[in-house]
Every structure is written in structure tokens, then in C-alpha cells.
């Protein structure tokens, strides 16, 4: 069945009817994935999508690869077992803010902490879509939903900060509407040998429409998004004259205007992906007035071995030292003969 012609978006598209609400941000992410996988040199047979439960977790059915739609919140554990069984597979984990941070928070934590070689895509629409619009751990305080008629009083969680706190060594952010930006993030995550955590800001047109429009609206996007590039100055804004500096007084990141108050390009921070301290501050950026949201790879730290490779290395080592069979074990030890 395989000819030598390179795979295309069509090859990665399954024959299943996509069942998301028209206008859902998930479509854009799906298309982008189907388009980018061939560019990464992915094969159909070695690619696996594992998901939990939620609208976003329907994703595997629409990919013409291997796929496992599991149970609510547990996809990281299933994917970990799959990687242990076969470290050579290219495993993508699809989860939502409810799936990966509420019920599955513990499993997300441990997949990140262990550095299992997974590409974890968390679709953050700040709401529960599939169960019809209840608030999620990333929802804003005060949000009115069927389960919070008087407004939510739960403080909300920052997924990037969560991931960094778990010890994630690759953390990135992108947004469903960014068809140009997303592929780069996917490729970087794919290249990373370990747990790559990607938050994708995703619009739920039905239950939380415009939750990200402040950031994605064409008119304001350039002022609201800080596109990070390793080794490049953190400069943004419609006029290209806004920058991020480190403010020693508040020990935090601050937005400045180049050309004002003697600020020059030189004063603006250069993005260094390996700087965990700055990454933590970048994660928070966007909360304050006039601050942009950091997009792209916020942090990445190279490691020698991903978790599953380390586990297999121990097995290989044990086998080199001595290799028994179950027969040796059963018949070994202190035994006696009855004649």
C-alpha cells in the first residue's frame, strides 16, 4: 500500500465525520496538525494520538493514524504505558483544561515530572465544552455558568505555570487561530525528546465564545501577543516599538516603549529558552494591564534520556549483567529432591 510519494494532509485525514460545533477552534488545530505532520516526516503507522474525554479528546478519531480515546483525565497514564511498551512510537496526547488539569491534574503532573517523551497538547478553552458549559480550572473568577449561577469563586490556574511547577522541561503556547505560528510550535515539541507541554488557546464558540478574542482579534493581536524566538529580542506591538525588560525594583517583567525614557533596543530582554527564571515570569505575563501574552517556546531544557529510555536502559543493563529465564528462577534457590 505504501508508494514512495511523500505523505500529504489527505493521508493523515481519517474518513470519519468531524463532529465539533461549526466554528469550534478545534477544527483549526486539527487541520494544522494534519498539515504539519507530513512536514515533520511523520509516518502514519508510527504516529499515535492518545486522548482523554472532552470535545478536544475526539481528536484521534479524525486522524488517519493509530489512536486511543481513553477515559477522563487519564490519557497521560495510558500514553506513558504505551511509550514504555514501545519507546519508538511518536505519541501525541490531546487533552483539555478540564481533562488535563481537573480530573487528570495528577497524571499530567507525573507525565511532566517523569519527562515521558510525549507531545502534550492542552486545548484551553477555559470551560467544559462536552458537558455543556460548566466552569473549568482555567475559568476566570466570577464566570457565570450552569454550575456557578452567582459567578465562580474558584481562583483560576495558569497551565504554563502549572507545567513549569511540575518540572516540565519543554513548555510552549500557541493559539488556534495562528495557522502560521502553530506549526513551528508543533515541530519544536515534536523534536523535543521528553515531555513537551503545549498550551493551545482554543475558542469554544458555544460556551465561552470570545474568551481569547482580546488576544486573537486582528486589531489588537500584535499588541497582545509577544511572539518569542530563541536569541531574539522580546519586541512586539503594532509599531514594533514595545519591549520586555527585567525590572530590578519589582523583580518582574515590565513592558517598555522603545524610544521613550531613554529606552533602546539594547535594553530589551533577549529570549533565552533555557532560562527557567525568565520562563516563570513569562508564564505570568499577560495578567497585568497592557501586558502581552507570551507565545512560542517559553522554556526548553535538554536532557540525556527521556523516562521510557531510562527505564529500558536499566532493563538492558540488567540483561547484560545476567540473563535468566523464568525456568532459572523457578528451579533456582533452595530446593530438595523427593525420591
Amino acid at each position: 500500500m505504501t508508494d514512495q510519494s511523500p505523505l500529504t494532509i489527505k493521508d493523515f485525514t481519517s474518513d470519519q465525520e468531524v463532529r465539533w460545533c461549526p466554528g469550534c477552534g478545534d477544527y483549526a488545530i486539527l487541520k494544522c496538525m494534519q498539515r504539519t505532520l507530513p512536514e515533520m516526516g511523520a509516518t502514519l503507522e508510527n504516529t499515535v494520538f492518545v486522548s482523554g474525554i472532552g470535545c478536544s479528546s475526539r481528536f484521534p478519531y479524525y486522524m488517519n493514524t493509530y489512536g486511543f480515546h481513553t477515559i477522563h483525565g487519564r490519557a497521560p497514564a495510558v500514553a506513558t504505558g504505551l511509550k514504555l511498551a514501545n519507546p519508538d512510537l511518536d505519541v501525541w496526547l490531546i487533552t483539555g483544561d478540564g481533562d488535563g488539569l481537573s480530573i487528570g491534574g495528577n497524571h499530567t503532573l507525573h507525565a511532566l515530572r517523569r519527562n515521558v517523551d510525549l507531545n502534550i497538547l492542552l486545548f484551553n478553552n477555559k470551560i467544559y465544552g462536552l458537558t455543556k458549559g460548566q466552569y473549568s480550572p482555567t475559568s476566570e473568577v466570577g464566570i457565570k455558568t450552569p454550575s456557578t449561577p452567582m459567578g465562580s469563586v474558584d481562583p483560576s490556574l495558569n497551565p504554563i505555570n502549572f507545567a513549569l511547577g511540575c518540572g516540565a522541561k519543554f513548555v510552549a503556547r500557541t493559539v488556534d487561530t495562528a495557522q502560521k505560528h502553530m506549526p513551528g510550535v508543533f515541530k519544536a515539541a515534536h523534536q523535543y525528546k521528553g515531555a513537551a507541554f503545549v498550551e493551545i488557546l482554543q475558542n469554544c464558540i458555544v460556551y465561552n465564545d470570545d474568551a481569547w478574542s482580546d488576544i486573537t482579534d486582528k486589531k489588537t493581536a500584535q499588541d497582545k501577543q509577544l511572539l518569542l524566538e530563541h536569541g531574539e529580542k522580546m519586541i512586539f506591538g503594532k509599531e514594533g516599538n514595545k519591549g520586555i525588560v527585567f525590572d530590578m525594583d519589582s523583580f518582574s517583567l515590565k513592558v517598555v516603549t522603545i524610544g521613550e525614557n531613554n529606552i533602546t533596543q539594547e535594553d530589551v530582554l533577549t529570549h533565552d529558552e533555557s532560562h527557567i527564571g525568565i520562563a516563570r515570569l513569562l508564564a505570568e505575563l499577560g495578567a497585568g494591564d497592557g501586558e502581552p501574552v507570551a507565545m512560542g517556546v517559553l522554556y526548553q531544557e535538554s536532557v540525556d534520556l527521556s523516562y521510557e529510555r531510562a527505564v529500558h536502559a536499566q532493563i538492558d543493563h540488567a540483561r547484560q549483567k545476567k540473563k535468566r529465564s523464568i525456568k532459572d528462577i523457578v528451579l533456582g534457590g533452595q530446593t530438595w529432591h523427593v525420591k
Partner: protein, 617 residues
């Protein structure tokens, strides 16, 4: 000098002391020497739930019981003939069980005012005459141990640590067992600390010598318990946890698959995780997950990837795994789920034994979610039952629950080692790309009804599975009502069909058509078997039938159980198998229940048989 040696057929010895006294070690070393001299045996370690209970308290008592004999031994023995009590608390907790007239060996050195108080004694039982019904041997083992290890320059505290070896030496003398296996073991264990090994051996020898002194031999006797007539072969003692783990490992080897065990520590299931973790050179991969849900999910993910997924836990952990088991049933992936049962409900009695997770195993999931359930009956039986669980899981593409319990897990017995060459492989054939293009993961084998298993990484077999209902015809998502009915039916039929391959149920003692059939499952095998044998010798027409396969049951179950006039079901729960049997076969099975955390005594089962026999006469 030789003393009169009395020949006995069997004896039950119980070692009891503080958790820090090394009673489990003492017991297992006594077991080892006994096994090597050819007696049959059964052991029961009985330890407290607290890791380090305050010294000298009754809830810190740790005990080890061994029943050994020149005849076939199937239980740990109803009542000890000999009780070794290292302190007042141990005496207080264990005395009730000692046979009237039995022998009581006590370390008088530990019967201090403070220890008596801690154990709740107002007067000293060694002096107030309350032990009149027993043969009492008091000796100051503490003091004599310290004396015997003096030359090694240990501090008092370190010296006292060998007190258990002193008592062990005395018991080895009393029962005419060899010291050599113990000294060998000590030398190996303390190879890097030869002075500790030497001190322990000195204490062991001192205890033995104490037995040989003239004064003592007038007050106590020596006993000899010979070798049992056993089938010829190679033997060793195993615990249930070991044999079960090795059975799983054998399942991996026989199927040609890698094993991935996902587990989370829980008493009394942890030893399975520990044992398998030490077998890395066999290619066994063990994963200590963040919780039981992750453990089963990882095993299932590995199964999706083409490995033999295994997960092990106890009742509370199995409860957490429930949702993932449903997914395993829906996706029809092979998985072995070990439940080493403990006392419940909830946290219950973690270190005590019970068999009350049968409902959980058979029914405990949402939706119509049938899966095969097996139960092992004894430590040695674990090996074969674990292999059987692997075989069924792989052949039928289904999760299988394998029930053990705290008693089986920790108990040891001699095991006639199987002919490893004769074990039948059950190699797995993975699906490969279909010629006509479209791969259907839910295409089934006509007979077993097992679905196609294709490993990710296989060209041409790309497919998606999940917990949402699938079309019988294509494997794609389907909400069609008739299809759901059909899939529900086929999942049930697949599990029910396993019965075709299960050997017919046969009485282990007696025969079909007896007046009373005593029906059991799991670790009650020993007490039931012995009770039935005694009842038969008294003329009662009674048989014993024991289940290994609880779901589905062997095809002849209905006919066999209905051949008895009365069915009695002893269980360490409130009647779970009884309910299942009544439901499936409309049989008025009578329950005999015990939920005390302790195994059945033979007499308890025997009395129930006698009652039933006379009542229905």
C-alpha cells in the same frame, strides 16, 4: 547425650513476640529447616498493621504460625501445640488459641513490671497460677542470649537482637531439625558483618544447647516429625506472592510478549510489585505509578502497544481501577488484574485476610461489563493460575481478574516444581495489513470471538479505539441502538464462551451425588478439604468442590452442584459465592461465613458439616 524422642505425626508451633523481635524471620528459618527435612507444611505470618507499634504493646505483637507434619498438611492448624511467647503482650494475645495442655515457652526475662503493665496484666501470669492448664517452660532467654554473645563485644541492645535466634535454636532442638540451613543463611546474610553472623550463630547454638541440658529434658520432651510421603520430584517452599509473580513472568515468556506491570503499593499486594521489579533481566518492565488509576491505565496503554499488561493491587485499589477496566472491556484489550484481597470495607483490615471482593470482581463496574474471574487456592497453586489468567487474557482479548488474598500471599508451602519444559506456549499472532486495504480492529475470530490485535507501528493497520461504542461491522464509533445491543451481547458471549475450554469441575474429595457438597473458592481450600476428609471418616456422605474459574464457571457446574442434596458454601465474607450460585443455578446453597480477619479453622467447617448432616438426617 540423647533424650527420649517422641514421634509425632504433625505439630503446630506459633512464634509470637514484639514486632521488633524478628518473629517473621524466626518463623521462616524454622520453616526452611523443616522443609529441607521433608515434612509437609503450611505457614501463616500474622503481623500488626502498625509499622512500629510501641514496644511491648498488644497491638504490636507479630506472630508466625507453622503447621508441619509427616502427613499432608493443608492448613495452618486450628490450635498451636507449642506457643513461643517472647513477652507478656505476645502471651496475652496468643494464649487463647493454644491447645489446652499445650506447651508454652516463655522468655521470663521480658516479664518485667513495665512490660506486664503495658500488656495489661495486673499480676504476673507466670506466678499467679493462671497458666495451670499448660505445660510451662520459663527461661531467661534475654539474659542467656547476652551471655552467649559476650565474646563478640556487642552492646546490650545489639546482643539482645539475637534473642530470636536463641529461641529458634531451642525449637530446632525440640523438633529435631537441623541448624545448618540457618547458619548457612546467617553467614550469607551477614557476609559483610561477620561478627554479627557469629553472634547470631552463637545465640542459636546456645538455645540448642540449653535444650540438651539434663534439667530441661526431664520437663520437656523432644519430638520428631518425619518426612511426608510426597510425589517424587524437586521441591521448594514458596509464598503465594512469589509463585504468583513467577506465574505472570512465565505467562510473558510463554506468550512471547514483554510484560509491563503498572502498580501502586498497597498491603498485601506490594510483594508482587517487589518480586517482578527484581526480574528486570527477564525483560519485565515494572512501573510504580502515581496511583492505581495510573497503574491500570499504563498497563492498558502498554497492552494497546502490544505488550502483556499487568496490574496488581488490593480491594481499595481495584475500586479505583474500575473505570479503566470498563475501558479495557470496551476496547477488548488483554490485561491481567491481580487482586490480593484484604479485610474490608474501605481500608478495613489491611494486614488481615478476607475473600470479600468477589462481587467487586464479578459485578463491580458500570454498564454490562463482563470479564473472566479466576481465584487461586494456595501459594503453590498461584503459579499455574497466574499462567492461566495470562492465557485467557491473550486468547480472548479481555481483562482478567485474578483473585488471591492476604493469607495466600504471605503464607508458604512446599511446591513441587513444575516441568518447565512441558508448559504450553500460547504465542500471540498480531494482525498485519489486510490485503483489501481497510483494517477493521473489531473483526473477530469465529470461535473465540476475540478481536484483531494490531500493534501501533504496523503499516496498514492504523485504527482508532476508545470507550465509545463501536460498530460491530467496522469498529468505528456507533450510537446505533441495535448495534449496542449486538455489541453488548457479543462481549457477554465472548466471556461466556471461555467455559468451553475450562476443565470440568470435579470434587477434590468425594464424588458427585453425595448428600452434602461443600463448595469453596480461594484460600479456604485447606480447611474445607481437611474438614470434609474428617467428616467422611466419620461416615458423613460429603464432597468438596473448589472453584478456580468463577466467571465463567465450568460448563458442568450446574449438573454437579445439583447432584448434591445440600450445598454448603464456607466463605470469608458474608456469602458472596453463595449469592452468585443461587442466582445462576437456583440452588438453595447454605452459607457458612467468617469475617474476623483470620482463616477458617477445620473444626469450624467440620461442625457446620456435622450440623447439616444431623439436621437433614
Amino acid at each position: 547425650m540423647t533424650t527420649d524422642v517422641q514421634i509425632l505425626e504433625s505439630a503446630v508451633v506459633r512464634f509470637a513476640g514484639d514486632s521488633g523481635d524478628g518473629m517473621q524471620l524466626t518463623g521462616s528459618q524454622f520453616t526452611n529447616s523443616t522443609a529441607l527435612s521433608g515434612s509437609d507444611l503450611a505457614t501463616f505470618p500474622d503481623f500488626p498493621a502498625e509499622i512500629r507499634a510501641p514496644v511491648g504493646t498488644t497491638f504490636g505483637v507479630s506472630a508466625f504460625q507453622i503447621n508441619f507434619g509427616a502427613k499432608s498438611i493443608k492448613t495452618i492448624g486450628d490450635e498451636p501445640d507449642v506457643l513461643v511467647a517472647m513477652n507478656p503482650a505476645a502471651l496475652k494475645v496468643s494464649l487463647d488459641n493454644l491447645r489446652r495442655g499445650g506447651l508454652l515457652v516463655v522468655d521470663a526475662g521480658s516479664f518485667t513490671k513495665r512490660n506486664l503493665q503495658k500488656a495489661g496484666y495486673e499480676t504476673n501470669p507466670l506466678e499467679d497460677g493462671c497458666l495451670e492448664d499448660y505445660q510451662l517452660i520459663t527461661l531467661d532467654a534475654s539474659k542467656q542470649t547476652v551471655e552467649s554473645v559476650k565474646e563478640f563485644g556487642l552492646g546490650n541492645k545489639d546482643a539482645l537482637r539475637s534473642k530470636n535466634m536463641y529461641m529458634l535454636g531451642l525449637m530446632l532442638w525440640m523438633f529435631d531439625r537441623s541448624r545448618a540451613p540457618v547458619t548457612d543463611w546467617l553467614e550469607k546474610k551477614f557476609a559483610k558483618k561477620p561478627e554479627i553472623a557469629a553472634a547470631n550463630i552463637a545465640a542459636l547454638n546456645a538455645g540448642h544447647a540449653y535444650g540438651e541440658t539434663a534439667e530441661l529434658s526431664t520437663s520437656i520432651k523432644r519430638y520428631h516429625i518425619g518426612a511426608v510421603k510426597q510425589e517424587p520430584g524437586l521441591y521448594k517452599t514458596v509464598t503465594g506472592s512469589e509463585a504468583l509473580s513467577w506465574g505472570l513472568a512465565a505467562g510473558g515468556e510463554l506468550s512471547g510478549l514483554d510484560i509491563v506491570l503498572g502498580s501502586y503499593p498497597i498491603t498485601p499486594a506490594s510483594p508482587v510489585l517487589h518480586t517482578l521489579s527484581s526480574l528486570k533481566d527477564l525483560g519485565i518492565l515494572t512501573f510504580q505509578a502515581e496511583d492505581e488509576i495510573a497503574a491500570v491505565c499504563a498497563a492498558l496503554g502498554a497492552a494497546f502497544g502490544g505488550a502483556l499488561g499487568v496490574t496488581s493491587s488490593s480491594g481499595p485499589g481495584i475500586a479505583l481501577k474500575g473505570e479503566a477496566l470498563g475501558l479495557a472491556i470496551s476496547t477488548e484489550l488483554p490485561l491481567v488484574v491481580v487482586n490480593v484481597q484484604r479485610g474490608g470495607p474501605s481500608t478495613g483490615l489491611p494486614t488481615k485476610t478476607e475473600q470479600s471482593d468477589l462481587y467487586q470482581a464479578i459485578y463491580g463496574r458500570n454498564g454490562d461489563a463482563p470479564l473472566p474471574v479466576l481465584a487461586t487456592r494456595s501459594p503453590a497453586d498461584c503459579f499455574e493460575t497466574a499462567i492461566e489468567a495470562c492465557r485467557i487474557a491473550l486468547k480472548y482479548m479481555t481483562p482478567v481478574i485474578l483473585l488471591s488474598d492476604g493469607f495466600i500471599a504471605n503464607a508458604a508451602e512446599p511446591w513441587k516444581l513444575p516441568d518447565m519444559e512441558a508448559l504450553e506456549p500460547f504465542e500471540v499472532a498480531f494482525a498485519s495489513a489486510p490485503e483489501d486495504g481497510e483494517f477493521n480492529p473489531y473483526q473477530r475470530d469465529d470461535l473465540s470471538l476475540a478481536r484483531n490485535w494490531a500493534k501501533p507501528g504496523t503499516p496498514g493497520c492504523m485504527h482508532r479505539i476508545g470507550g465509545i461504542e463501536k460498530s460491530y461491522d467496522t469498529g468505528h464509533i456507533s450510537y446505533d441502538p441495535a448495534n449496542h445491543q449486538k455489541m453488548t451481547d457479543v462481549r457477554a458471549a465472548k466471556v461466556a464462551g471461555i467455559a468451553r475450554e475450562i476443565p470440568p469441575l470435579e470434587p477434590s474429595t468425594g464424588s458427585a451425588g453425595a448428600r452434602i457438597g461443600v463448595v469453596g473458592w480461594g484460600s479456604t481450600f485447606g480447611p474445607i478439604e481437611e474438614a470434609v476428609k474428617i467428616a467422611r471418616s466419620e461416615g458423613v456422605d460429603v464432597s468438596h468442590v473448589h472453584f478456580r474459574h468463577l466467571n465463567p464457571m465450568p460448563s458442568n457446574t450446574d449438573a454437579l452442584l445439583k447432584s448434591f442434596d445440600h450445598v454448603l458454601i464456607p466463605e470469608m465474607n458474608t456469602g458472596q459465592l453463595k449469592t452468585v450460585i443461587r442466582d445462576r443455578f437456583f440452588i438453595d446453597a447454605q452459607p457458612l461465613n467468617k469475617v474476623s480477619g483470620q482463616p477458617f479453622k477445620i473444626t469450624e467447617v467440620l461442625n457446620a458439616i456435622r450440623d447439616l448432616a444431623s439436621e437433614k438426617a
